[in-house]
Symmetry: C2
Subunit: 209 residues, 2 copies
């Protein structure tokens, strides 16, 4: 099996952290999205959708959604559990992971992809010929700012995002937050509970993956 | 428990079909998003995020992402399985479900929410004060048309979306496709394998849920 990866991109990092928490090693192939390597024939022959991360199994089967790759490894090796074990934990981890993707991740992608010159005609991940829409930058920034305020309030009441234990929802939030900071996108002031959480999860060895 | 629902909306329908396939009945409360009932104090007291579907448990806990509600019931009552049982099935169902949401569902929401007059200042589900961006309508329509062509090719090789058995990925595709048709949004001509699949899944009793 091979993991097609990009070091600085947030979704591939989610999978790397997940694997590090499980202690699983998978051979990596670095693909540079910025340089358009994901849309070159070599990679499109592996995955016509042109997105990362992509896990290719030995029989050629492709799994190209971060959470699907995570679920594959969770099912192969349940310990330590990162997607929940009881019905309620399973549901709350999925729910928080989705909220973070929808209320934080999508605005981040909107603000980034529609303003970054190399993506002027690749405003949707994995695709060419989709023109940037400048109005999405402001919408994305505004939603992202509100998202961090909501997450800060959540972390006032909960040690980790989805409850008392570390889960995929924490991994997703960490990758989004660090990518937003790297881009100097809005991370509001006055969010002490988020910062406490951020220091805790950043200190885990997996955060270096 | 209570399911806050909206009869004509695609995401609540996903959960209703899922529950019908499982033979589970949950009391429903109809909330009219178009009339803004999801942003009135009564519903915001249940779920400050203002989105549907929302499952409220008897202790007040809220699960407000469709797939999270589905995972909750899958874990409570695994039969019939709709989210896979082997690691590979689990991964492929999640992967196709996500692809359908990202490549089909998001474009549909973009095209609809940014062109429908009642949502002129509610262009993002569950939120007020987000202005429509007209350029997203054309982007959404174009992506949606391409999505149906890709899905048609997939269904040429596979009886159901994620493989030989019916799953949540089929439910998601059915709800998106029927909503796109109801809105007279692009469903291209010449997609016979999609139409064969559509007739099959529409004939299941759960499609009426």
């Amino acid at each position: 099996m091979k993991l097609y990866d990009m070091r600085v991109a947030p979704n591939p990092r989610r999978v790397r952290i997940f694997l590090a928490e499980k202690g699983i090693e998978v051979p990596r192939v670095e693909i540079n999205i910025r340089a358009g390597e994901n849309l070159e024939p070599g990679f499109l022959a592996v995955n016509p959708r042109g997105v990362l991360p992509t896990l290719q199994l030995d029989d050629g089967t492709v799994i190209d959604e971060s959470t699907a790759i995570c679920r594959y490894f969770e099912a192969l090796q349940p310990d330590p559990p990162l997607l929940g074990t009881t019905p309620l934990d399973i549901a709350l981890i999925e729910c928080w992971n989705r909220r973070i993707e929808f209320d934080g991740g999508q605005p981040l992608v909107d603000a980034f992809r529609n303003s970054y010159p190399p993506y002027a005609d690749r405003a949707v991940p994995g695709r060419s010929g989709v023109a940037a829409i400048p109005a999405l930058v402001e919408r994305g920034r505004a939603r992202l700012g509100e998202f961090f305020t909501v997450i800060d309030a959540r972390l006032r009441d909960s040690e980790f995002v989805a409850g008392p234990t570390f889960s995929l929802a924490d991994i997703t939030l960490l990758c989004i937050a660090d990518f937003a900071r790297a881009l100097k996108l809005t991370v509001p002031e006055g969010i002490p509970d988020f910062l406490r959480w951020h220091a805790t999860v950043s200190a885990r060895p997996s955060a270096q993956a």
